[in-house]
Amino acid sequence: MWTFFHKLGSPPWLYAIAGAILRWLVPITLVALVGGMVWGLLLTSPDFRQGNSYRIIYIHVPAAVVALAGYYVMAIAGAISLIWRMKMADVVMKAAAPVGAALTFIALLTGAIWGKPTWGTWWVWDARITSMLILLFLYLGVVALYEAFDNKEAAGKACAVLSLVGMVNIPIIYKSVDWWYSLHQPASIKFSGESTIDPSMLYPLLLMIAAFYALFTCCLLMNMRAELLQRESRTQWVKKIAGKEGRR
C-alpha cells in the first residue's frame, strides 16, 4: 500500500499509472457525457415556468460544481508541494489550473446565455456571479504567475501560496446566495432535506455532474502526462518513450 504511494512520487511511475487510468476512464467519461446529455437535453420534460431554456442546467451546474471542487484539488496539491516539497504535487497543481479556468468560463458563459431570456440581462454584479468571476481570475492568475517565473521552483511556491489564499473564495461562492440578497437563485440540489428539483430532472443532472468530475480527472491526468514529459525531457525514460514513438 505505502509503496504504491511512494511510487507516485516517481515521474515514470506516475506517467504510467496516469496512462493506465486514462485507458478506461476516457471511454467511461465519453459514455457518461453522451448519455447524460441525451437524457437531460432530449428525454426530460421541459420546466413548468422556463420551458426548454432550463436545459442549460445540464452544462451550467456540472461545470460550476467541478470548477469549485477543482480549485480544492489545485490548492491542496499546492499545500502538499509547499510542505513536503513533492515535485509531483506541483505537477498536479499546474495541470489543474487551466482545466479549472475552462470550467469556470463555461459556467459563466452558460449562465449569461440563460440569464438573458430568464432574468432579462446577460450580466449582473450580484454576489454569486462576481465571486465566480474572481474564481476565473484566480485560476488564470495561477497560470500566468507560473509562466512569469524563470525559476520553476519559485514559480511553484508562488502559485501554491496564491491558490491557498484564493481558497477562501470557494465557500463564499457556495454560500453567496444564502448570505446576501442576490439575483441568482439558491441551490436546487440540497445535501440535507429534499431537493427542489423534480427527481425526473435531478437524476440526469447528477449523471452529468459525475461525468464532469470524470472529464476533469481525464483532462488533469492528460495535462500531468504532458507536463511530466516536458519536465523530464532530458531523462532516460522520456527518451525511451520518445524513441519508441519517434521511430514510427
Partner: protein, 149 residues
C-alpha cells in the same frame, strides 16, 4: 512529522486561516454593498436611500400589476410580505415576470416613495419541475415546498 515540515504545515494553515479572516472582515464590513437589492421592508423603514439609483427586490404582489392602455407603462407592487413598494416602469418586461413571482427593479425612489424603475429583472427561484407536476401540485392544494396553501 519532520520538524521543518511541521513548521511549513503551520505556515500553510496560517496563510489559509488569516486570508479567510481578512476576506471575512472585508465582506462583513461591505455587506450592505454586496447585497444586490434592498427588500421592501428596508425601503419602508427608511434604510434605503432616496434620490439615488438603487435596486429593490421582492415578490410581485398578486393583482397589483396594471398596464397603461396607450403606452408601455406598467405599475405594480413589490412586497416581502412585511412591506410593499410601488414600482412604475416604462418598457418591456422579461418573459418570466409575473404576479407572485420574484423580481428586482432598479431605479430611483421619488419623494412619494414610488420607485421609478429603469430596469426590471425577473428573479427565478430554485424550483424546477415538469408542467404536469406543477399542475398536479396546483390541484392538490400544496405548494412547492409541501406546505398547505
Amino acid at each position: 512529522m519532520h520538524p521543518v515540515r511541521k513548521q511549513r504545515l503551520y505556515l500553510v494553515l496560517f496563510v489559509a486561516l488569516f486570508s479567510s479572516v481578512a476576506v471575512g472582515l472585508v465582506s462583513y464590513a461591505l455587506r450592505g454593498n454586496i447585497n444586490l437589492f434592498y427588500p421592501p421592508a428596508d425601503v419602508a423603514s427608511g434604510k434605503a436611500p432616496t434620490g439615488q439609483p438603487l435596486r429593490v427586490g421582492g415578490m410581485v404582489e398578486k393583482g397589483s400589476v396594471q398596464r397603461a392602455d396607450d403606452s408601455l407603462e406598467v405599475s405594480f407592487m413589490l412586497t416581502d410580505y412585511q412591506a410593499s413598494v410601488p414600482v412604475v416602469y416604462i418598457g418591456i418586461l422579461p418573459d418570466l415576470f409575473g404576479e407572485e413571482q420574484g423580481a428586482v427593479a432598479s431605479g430611483v425612489l421619488d419623494s412619494e416613495g414610488v420607485l421609478q424603475a429603469t430596469e426590471i429583472l425577473a428573479k427565478h427561484d430554485e424550483n424546477y419541475m415538469p408542467p404536469e407536476v406543477a399542475y398536479a401540485l396546483e390541484n392538490s392544494g400544496y405548494d412547492k415546498k409541501g406546505k398547505t396553501k
